[in-house]
């Protein structure tokens, strides 16, 4: 609606185009639009919705905000799908921040695992073993998440460099 006014079915169609793997029902989109209208982020006339200045500002704020921990896949993918080229450095920074946060979580998990495993030495009770197995599963989950974030950041950085190459500018998204 920041790009152009749209009906609820138009918004649903565009969301499905942007976020290919997700299916948005028109009914759910209509409900969300009514909520956004109540909050003053969009206004409507004859079933056509348009973003208000407040809504546009809120969208920009959301796009540039750091990610929650653990980073929500759906929210991050929505940011990637909806961001514009100029938003990329900010998004790259957010992904990097999320990596940092995940790494710190791994550090905490490792400390706990070390303690548990020292306690576990010579112990055969299932309860204690289960605790270490669960933490091992946690670690694998964080590893997968960090790998995904790193791959995502690599692709965003490549895209930013491509855009910079096209415009003839030379700045690093890491700067």
């Amino acid at each position: 609606m920041i790009e152009r006014p749209a009906t609820s079915s138009g918004v649903a169609q565009r969301l499905n185009e942007y976020l290919g793997s997700t299916q948005f029902a028109v009914q759910a989109v209509s409900k969300a639009l009514r909520r956004l209208e109540e909050q003053g982020f969009v206004r409507s006339a004859d079933g056509v919705y348009v973003a208000t200045p407040r809504g546009t500002e809120h969208f920009r704020d959301w796009l540039s905000a750091s990610l929650p921990l653990p980073p929500l896949r759906e929210e991050l993918l929505a940011k990637v799908a909806l961001c514009r080229g100029e938003d990329l450095p900010r998004l790259i920074g957010s992904v990097r921040d999320a990596e940092f946060a995940c790494l710190a979580m791994v550090g905490d998990l490792n400390r706990r695992m070390r303690e548990e495993r020292r306690i576990l030495e010579g112990v055969v009770q299932w309860r204690q073993r289960a605790c270490v197995i669960v933490m091992g599963g946690d670690l694998a989950w964080w590893e997968a998440r960090i790998t995904w974030l790193q791959n995502l950041r690599g692709q965003l950085e490549e895209e930013w460099q491509r855009l910079q190459g096209e415009s003839g500018a030379a700045s690093s998204p890491r700067a």
Partner: protein, 258 residues
């Protein structure tokens, strides 16, 4: 306490073809203290081995500073640098040795000239025993299991009693339990000998026994702060219900050791 190893703003790139530049390390900054194990985790081909080679003084980076025991390695003369690295740094990798000789002899080689054959052999026996590979003394590399090779490589690095171990993906070929035992052994050695250990690993499970961990990706080394940063700024409501925090700056803590 000063750092045993310090990398400051290290950058390294390779030219691939005329126009393509591969940035292997970009502004990498890291410190390793005596008695601590720092693990660098990363996927294959992300620059871990290059980082390890730079840290061990085997490769000179065109940008940045590498210090071992407070001395800028690449400011030293070739002779002094060789002496410093031989004395202070143990390079551990599971590469196949060029000579097909018994393990005891292979492990003793680094100190054979300095100590003489008998003392070198005694030192090698001690190193092999410490890492739990005493039974491999008479065997040759080809007959060792992957786990034994890792231990022998570690013993060979320890024989010179270095202050810093730089370990390049030693456990990549090992099964989970063996890899864990090697990782734990490194942590024990760090404590008992006040060794600094910098190790690259491909699996996050191997970071369990490390004091700190970093990751490398796209040439960028990320060393996280001690605990997750929360509450860094304004909360932005996501209409769908999720919440995000707006961070005042970006790249906080990048390349800075915790």
């Amino acid at each position: 306490m000063g750092a045993l190893l310090s990398l400051e703003g290290v950058g390294l790139h390779y030219q691939r073809g005329r126009r393509h530049v591969v940035e292997v390390l970009a502004d990498a900054t890291l410190e390793v203290l005596a008695g601590e194990v720092v693990c660098v985790w990363g996927q294959r081909g992300r620059g871990k081995t290059t980082l390890m080679r730079v840290a061990a003084g085997l490769e000179e980076p065109p940008v940045g500073r590498v210090s071992v025991d407070g001395s800028d390695v690449w400011e030293l003369s070739d002779r002094v640098r060789s002496q410093l690295l031989a004395r202070a740094v143990g390079w551990v990798t599971c590469a196949k040795p060029e000579l097909d000789i018994p393990v005891l002899e292979y492990v003793a080689i680094p100190v054979k000239v300095a100590l003489g054959r008998g003392s070198a052999s005694r030192r090698a026996k001690e190193a092999l025993a410490r890492v739990g590979a005493g039974e491999c003394e008479e065997q040759r590399w080809g007959s060792l299991s992957d786990g034994e090779r890792a231990l022998v490589a570690l013993a060979r690095a320890l024989v010179r009693a270095p202050r810093l171990l730089v370990v390049d993906d030693l456990t990549a070929m090992l099964r989970c339990r063996e890899a864990d035992e090697v990782a734990r052994l490194l942590a024990e050695l760090a404590r008992e000998r006040e060794l600094g250990v910098l190790a690259s690993v491909s699996s996050m499970e191997e970071t369990t026994w490390s004091d700190r961990m970093a990751t490398i990706s796209g040439g960028e080394l990320l060393v996280p702060p001690a605990s997750p940063r929360r509450g860094a700024g304004k909360v932005v409501e996501f209409p769908g219900g999720a919440r995000s925090e707006r961070v005042a700056g970006r790249g906080n803590g990048r390349g800075v050791s915790a």
